[in-house]
Structure formats: structure tokens, C-alpha cells
Amino acid sequence: MKKYTLLLILSLLLAMGISFTSLGYQEAPQLAELVKAGKLPPVEERLPEEPLVVEPIEGIGKYGGTWNRGFTGIKDYHALGRLIYDPILRWPRDPKDPVQSGLAKQWEWSEDGKTLTLHLRKGLKWSDGYPFTTADITFWWYDIELDPNITAAPHIEWVVDGKPMELEVVDDYTIKLKFSQPNGLAETVGLAFHGNQWPLGFERFGFFAPRHYLEQYHPKYNPDVDYAVFEDKAFDYNTERPVMTAWQISEWGPGATRLVAKRNPYYWKVDPEGNQLPYIDEIILTLFEEVEALNLRAIEGGFDMQFRRISLSNYPALQQNKDRYGYHVLLWPDAVGTKYGYFFNESIDDIGLREIFQNPKFRQAMAVAIDREQINEVSYLGIGVPRAHTVVPDSPYYEPGLDQLYAQYDPALANQLLDEIGLKKGPDGFRTRPDGSRLEITVEGMDWDKATLDEMELVVAAWNEVGVRTSLKTMSREIYWTRACSNEVQVATWTVDRGIDPMTDPIYIFPFDERSWMAPAFGTWYKSGGKLGQEPPDYFKEMMDLYDQYKVTVDSEKQKEIGKKLVRMNAENVFVIGTVGMVPSVVVVKNNFRNIPEHFTTDWIYMAPGTLDPCHFYFDH
């Protein structure tokens, strides 16, 4: 028996050795030249002991090429940020799968769910060749996340029961995260969504930062600098800053009209044949001040692969020009429960309106007064899905039927419901409040594009049709956002995404914070632990309690149960009125651009297209 085992182990070791030497690792031709010139260590030394192997979507790729894309400036960090999605743990490609390994190869929970141990890949290196270790995590935690000069308050997933987590460094590659209660958000929100290099553009979340580089610019270690210097150096647009991603920004500065990101020679992923990724040499993002100009460039075939900022309204024009410019157009479903949602503010200061808005029958009536087919035809080329606001079928929290709850077009029912709750129609065809005074509501929104404006006008017309006097006001994003978050808007509107995993940031499910425009004041109350805002009614408190439970549940099946319950309550109460959802993203792909799937559900929380591993996209020359 013992002999057998020994033999087995020996032969296994042998096999591994053979495969290692016979396969070896290959690298991009430019890197090979640098190695030859002695400017770079050989690829085996640059890669970690166990590189992450990317399963190709179509096949093994070829090295080379420049990926041309467009973006709208410094605020549009996600144009690059989602291509270089490299957190500690990764969201899966198929949203129904569990969280996958990333920079951490393995991770396990303690029995009580209060300790999470992370095992980083051994031999990981920053883009400057310096080892990536647990020190980079502790640096982020103690000197960024817990430094009030940089982060106002640590993110909620790291604060359980009001107590921030504690870190225990075992060695360079092993670290323990300790919580006072089981932490149900650590894996998903903490390590897959927020587990990237700090600060991810303007999002200011992360889980690690290059200690060896940033220490010299941190006021704690270098009294000669201030926090402005630190912010500057730690920022994603700093070309000197080491990264763990496939490409590193190499060209960007004030007045620049393009952003260039070059291949990272120390990138830690390979394809199944041992070719070091990424295949593509560099990414060039061209700056467009106007989204329209960016779309025009896309129509002219100026981009190799992009869906960000390309509007569905241009689909006909793209289709008409695709053969001329050698690209094709894909429609990827977007995980938006509704492309545009309507939030009746249940914490509005006008008490009369608040009572009306808090009545579920009122919201049901307003929901069925809308002709969703018509909106789909006018605004979304007829290819969206008329539905209520809830998660999409790809979501683990999906329950059939909820997406059609109060999504029918039935003005008679709407009128009947409104009559029932005492909003009587006057001689002019418009309804009054139960006390007989004038009822008038204002829908507010930001001016996105023509399609959204068309949709808002149709909805407003539909509500007037059932006798609720409604007017519409649009304004710039800055003004609108501030108004909506400060509880001033009666009916707010917004794109309601997070359709796959609403629990990561449940602002559209219940009043979670001031961004939950179904009741911003109640959301503020929840966020501040009852110190600010206004106390919500019981039906919201019930949901808040459920989410508190969700947060301390580590068992993913049990979490799913709670999540489903919350999603159901949200849909049944019509807290957000949906119209047309799952409107596709328009993807423009050059005909020689490979490893792009025909179907893929895009979602911002999942950093689309980050989970497709853009590092293995390639050009077929």
C-alpha cells in the first residue's frame, strides 16, 4: 500500500516535471527580445508558481495588435477599468457560478464563519517586478481604508456589528480576516466586487495597493508630503504606479487626447498552452468630448471592440455600415431590470403626497397605466423586454412571474385602483387628493439621450391619461443627482441596473442609503444607524432587518433564500416602477477580433466585460 502511494506520488511528480519543461512558458515577441537583451528576467521567473490559466472562449490566440477604443475623459475611468478587472477573487463568467479564484488561489472560512483565510498565489509580482505579498493588503487596510484622511469610513463589508475587521498576517502569502460576526458580504462585495487595487478611478474602493511604491508618498511614512501627493500617486491615471493588471497606463496627462496602456510583462495569467497573457500589445483609448462623436467613430469602424457609451439608437446606422468598415454588431443583454425606473419618493416632505405614494395601490395603478410595448417600440427599437423592475432571469435571485407583476397595460384597472384610494376625478379629467386639494406630481430626470427622454414623455403622458396631473423636468446630471439624494424629488428616475446581483449594493431593493430614491430619507436613516434621516414605516424596517441578516450569513444557499425574499417583497410592493428591461448593449466588434462570445449578460457590478478576461482577446491577422 505504502509502496503504491510512493510510486504514485513519484510518477505524478515526474509527470508534472515533464509537462513543465516540455510546455514551458511562451511570451510576446517584444518581451522575448527584452529578455535576450538582458533587460527583463525570463518568463518563468516573471510568472508566479501557479499562474491562473484562462479558459479561452474561442481558442488560443496570437500575440500583437492595438485595441482601439473610445472614452469620454478622465471621469470615464471604467472605459479602461473594466478591461483590467483583477481583484483578489473574481466574479464568475456565468453569474450562476460561485466566486472564482483571482490573486488569491484559495480561501476558506472557519467553522463559525468569523474568520476568512486567503492564500495568495506564490511568486506574484507587481508590474515593476517587486513581489506582491500580504504587506500590500495590510498597507491598504491600515494606511488607506482606516486612515480618515483618505477614507471617510471603512466600507460596510469590512465593518460587522460596528467593529472593523482585524487582519492577521500568517506569512507573505497567507492572511486571515477576522470579524466579530459571520460576514456574508466578504467574498462577493469585499473581494470580488471591491477586491481590486485601490482606488479604481473615482469609486475609491479596493483591497490592496503597492506598498513599496506608495509608502514613500504617504504622510505617515514621509512627513515631507501631504495627502494630495498621496492621492496623486495612488491614482489609477498615474503612469509610474505599479499594477497587477494585464495592461498598465503608459501615456496620459493633462491635455492628452488619448490614453495608452501597454502590456504588463509580469502579468500572472497564461492560456492552457502556457502563453503568457495578454495577447494584445496595447490599448489606445481616444478621447471624445461628445458621446455622439464617439458613436460616429464607432459607425465608421474606428473601434476594435467596444460597447461602452454606444447607444442602441445607433444600431440601425451601425448595421448599415458594418460591411463597409469590416465589423459586426452583437446585442448582449444588459442586466438592467428596467432601462429606466420610476421611484415614487415615499419619504417626500409633502405629507399628503407621502401618504399617497406610500399606498401600494397607487404605485400599482401607476405601473399598469403604462403601455410598455409602446415604450419598447419608441425608445428601444422593439428589442427590450417589457417587464416590471426586478432581477433578470440570469440572476440567482430570480423567481419566474415577478417580472410581469403589474407590468400589464390596463388603464381601466389603474383608474379603478385610483378611485378606490380616494383620488377622485374632477370635471377637468384630473384627480384631486383625498382632501380635495389639487394633485400634481413632477417627474424629474437627467437629460441622458433622446431614447430616455422619449420614454419619460410617454410615461408622463400615460399618467396624465389616467387623471394624475404629471409634469416632467429634466436637468443636468449634477443638479439632478444632488436633488434626488437630498429627498427633494417627488418622482425620481434612473437606469436600474444591478439586475444580476442586487444584494451587492441593494439601493434599488429597499431604502439602503440616500441613493435609494424610493425613500432617500429612510435610506439615510438606515445608513446612519438611525442617527440621520427619518424613521421608516414598518414594511421598510422589515426589509432592513432581512438585509442585516443577509450580511451576517456566510452560507450562500441561506443567503440566496433571504435575497429572494427581499427581491420578492420589492417586486410585490412596486417600490420601483419598471417599463422595459434587459435592453441589449450594442457591441461593435471588428471581424478579426476574437474570443468574444455571441451572448453575454453585461452588468456593472460584474464589471462587464471584465469577467470575459479581456487579456485573452486577440487579433486574427
Binding site: Q319, Q320, D454, K473
Partner: protein, 390 residues
């Protein structure tokens, strides 16, 4: 006191003598070619004006535009709220006027569908189906000039759709929208100019009449205002408007903002004119007869500069209309659901309109026509206002 009375009596006498002389001269000249001197200034201006063909055409176009704007709701076949979503992005329809030799306007019926490949709305005409265009047809109710309820439209169809300039994405008739939009676009100029007239005329005349430190102060204020580049200034001011204002309030606020700059131009010109006029004998005479400054300004100086005021205000109309369109086009002026030419153009501000639905740019054509017309009219008026030079 006596001295003064004597003087004024003397001047009165002089006046009488002068006018007697004038009359005799006029009588003598009646037969001669220089008849013009006997006619009033206004008559002469009119004569000179109608000799200028382009100006007359401009004037007629403007008159027409304002008439149409006044009766807009009657002229258009559809109201602003009427959406025929089954006809979204319908290209302009061809109107056929004769059928079998008889005058009987009609349009062909159309069928819409979505191209499965490009997902674009496509329409085919059905030559079998003729839809006659009826005049004075009963349609959607509206309020004429916002006052009188009515439901008779100048023209329309009983079934299908008649759309002279096509429809937009929501299936709203562009012809109706352009015509109704002209109400705001054209009146914003009127109201704005009227406002700047009031401010400009008084400040300009005061400045010129009094001179001294008042003149200095007003002129420096004008210089300060004029030294700002107008578009950024408008942008800053409109951005400062409270966002919770109703669209109508915003409309008035924007007219005020536009006229805040508009008056300086007028004031400058009037000041120059008044500087010359105040040295004239009739002002001296009025002053000597004990007229107050207010009397002199309102009864003598402003009427004397009337021709100027009219010219300047016609010439500043186009810039007002353009300013509204420009601001709305930039998304800073009026916003939907208000409908003006600028708003319509703003909504046409994307490449799919340029590539696929070019008829949505039609409001631009109307802006151009109205501005040209105003400019021609203003030019003609300017020439006419000074009838003594050839």
C-alpha cells in the same frame, strides 16, 4: 422773469414765421419734383421702404410667420400631445393635389414595419389606398391662443396620417411641432426686444441728454456688460436659474437674461443720437418754455429717435431668436416638454438623425428663414429711416 417771457414770445413768433414760410415754400414746390419735402417723414420712409423689394418680402414673411404663430393651434393637424407611435420616424409624406384632373389633395396610406436586420422603422405606401385631405376638419380639441376652446383644424385626415414634414421618434407630427414651436421662438424675440427697448431707450436717452457723471456711469456699465462674451454669460446666468422652476418661468427668465445684454446696443446708439439732438433748437425751445426734463425726453427726444429704435429692434430680433435656439441647442435654455425651434433642434442633435432621419433638422430651416427675413426687413427699415439720403 420778464426777460424770459420776452424771449419765449420772440421764439414763438419766430416759429410762426417759420411755419408760414414753410407753407408758402411748400405750396410753391407742390408742382415741382421736390414734392417729397412737403410730405411727412413717415410717408417718405414708407415710400422708400416699399421700393426695397427684399425688405418688403422679408416683412411679408415675418408677418406671415407671426400670423401663423398666432393661429398655430388651428393651422396644425395635430396637437403637441398627439403621439402616433405606430408611425414613428415616418419620412415626410408626398401630398398629391390632383386626382383624375380634379383638385383633390390626398396622401397614400402607409404601412410600417421594422426591418429585422437593422431594426429600423420602414414604411411602404399603399397606392391602393387614397386618403383625402379634408379642410376644416374636426380633430383633437385645443384652445386657440390659449383662450378659446375649439376643435376645428385647418386640414387633416380622417384615417391614417398626414405628415408634411415627417414624424419624430414618438410619432409626433413635425409640421405641427415646428408651427407650435414658432410661438415660443418668435415671441421670445418680441418679448426680449421689448424689454431691452424699455431699458435701452431710457438709459440711452438719459445718458445722452444729461451727460456728465450720469453719462459716464451708464456708459461704463454698458462697457462692462459688453465686455463679457455673450454665450458664456448667458450660460452662467441660465445655469443659475433655480432648477425647480416651471418651464414657463424658465422661459420668461431666459427672455430677461437675453434682454439684459440686448439693451446695451440700443442704449449706445440712442445716446449718440441724443447727444446731437439735445443741441437742436427745438430742445432749447422746449427747455426755455419751461418743460421738464421728463417732458423733453418723453415728448421730444424719444419720438425723435423712434425711427432708430424701430430699426435697431428689428435688427436685434434675429439675434434674440438665434440666442434662444443656441441656448436651447446647448441644453441650457428651454427644455422639453416646452417646444421651441431650439428645443426641436436640440433633440435632433445626434448622428442617427443626420444619417437616418434628416427631416428632423427641418426646424433649422425655419430658424434660418425667419432670421434672414428679419435681417432683410431691418436693412430696408434702416435705409428708409433716413429718407433724406439717397
Amino acid at each position: 422773469m420778464n426777460d424770459y417771457q420776452e424771449k419765449s414770445n420772440y421764439i414763438k413768433k419766430l416759429y410762426e414765421q417759420q411755419s408760414n414760410l414753410d407753407q408758402t415754400i411748400a405750396h410753391q414746390m407742390m408742382s415741382s419734383e421736390k414734392l417729397a419735402f412737403a410730405t411727412s417723414q413717415w410717408r417718405m420712409m414708407w415710400r422708400k421702404f416699399i421700393r426695397n423689394r427684399t425688405a418688403v418680402i422679408g416683412g411679408i414673411v415675418i408677418l406671415l410667420f407671426y400670423l401663423v404663430a398666432l393661429f398655430a393651434d388651428f393651422i396644425v393637424p395635430y396637437t403637441l400631445q398627439q403621439r402616433m407611435t405606430q408611425y414613428s420616424f415616418l419620412p415626410p409624406q408626398r401630398i398629391h393635389f390632383f386626382y383624375e384632373g380634379k383638385f383633390q389633395p390626398f396622401v397614400y396610406g402607409i404601412k410600417g414595419s421594422r426591418d429585422p436586420n437593422t431594426l429600423m422603422r420602414v414604411y411602404v405606401t399603399d397606392p391602393e389606398k387614397r386618403i383625402p385631405i379634408r379642410f376644416f376638419i374636426r380633430g383633437e380639441p385645443y384652445k386657440l391662443m390659449g383662450l378659446f376652446p375649439a376643435n376645428i383644424h385647418l386640414f387633416g385626415v380622417e384615417e391614417g396620417i398626414v405628415s408634411l414634414m415627417g414624424t419624430d421618434g414618438q410619432g409626433r407630427d413635425m409640421f405641427s411641432r415646428v408651427i407650435i414651436g414658432s410661438q415660443i421662438s418668435l415671441t421670445i424675440g418680441l418679448v426680449g426686444v421689448a424689454l431691452s427697448l424699455v431699458i435701452g431707450a431710457f438709459l440711452g436717452v438719459y445718458s445722452g441728454y444729461f451727460g456728465g457723471w450720469i453719462d459716464n456711469l451708464i456708459q461704463r456699465i454698458i462697457e462692462i456688460i459688453r465686455s463679457f462674451p455673450p454665450i458664456p454669460l448667458w450660460m452662467a446666468l441660465t445655469a443659475a436659474l433655480p432648477s425647480h422652476w416651471s418651464p414657463l418661468k424658465v422661459y420668461f427668465a431666459i427672455t430677461v437674461i437675453l434682454s439684459l445684454i440686448g439693451w446695451t446696443w440700443l442704449a449706445r446708439q440712442l445716446r449718440g443720437k441724443v447727444l446731437a439732438l439735445r443741441e437742436e433748437d427745438f430742445v432749447m425751445a422746449a427747455r426755455l418754455s419751461g418743460a421738464s426734463n421728463w417732458w423733453i425726453i418723453t415728448k421730444h427726444l424719444i419720438p425723435a429717435t423712434f425711427s432708430h429704435i424701430i430699426v435697431i429692434s428689428t435688427l436685434s430680433m434675429p439675434s434674440m431668436i438665434l440666442a434662444e435656439s443656441a441656448l436651447s441647442f446647448l441644453g441650457l435654455g428651454l427644455r422639453p416638454p416646452l417646444t421651441s425651434w431650439g428645443v426641436l433642434l436640440q433633440q435632433a442633435q445626434n448622428i442617427q438623425v443626420l444619417l437616418l432621419y434628416p427631416w428632423l433638422l427641418m426646424p433649422g430651416f425655419f430658424v434660418a428663414i425667419s432670421i434672414l427675413a428679419f435681417n432683410f426687413l431691418g436693412d430696408g427699415l434702416r435705409d428708409a429711416a433716413d429718407p433724406y439720403t439717397v
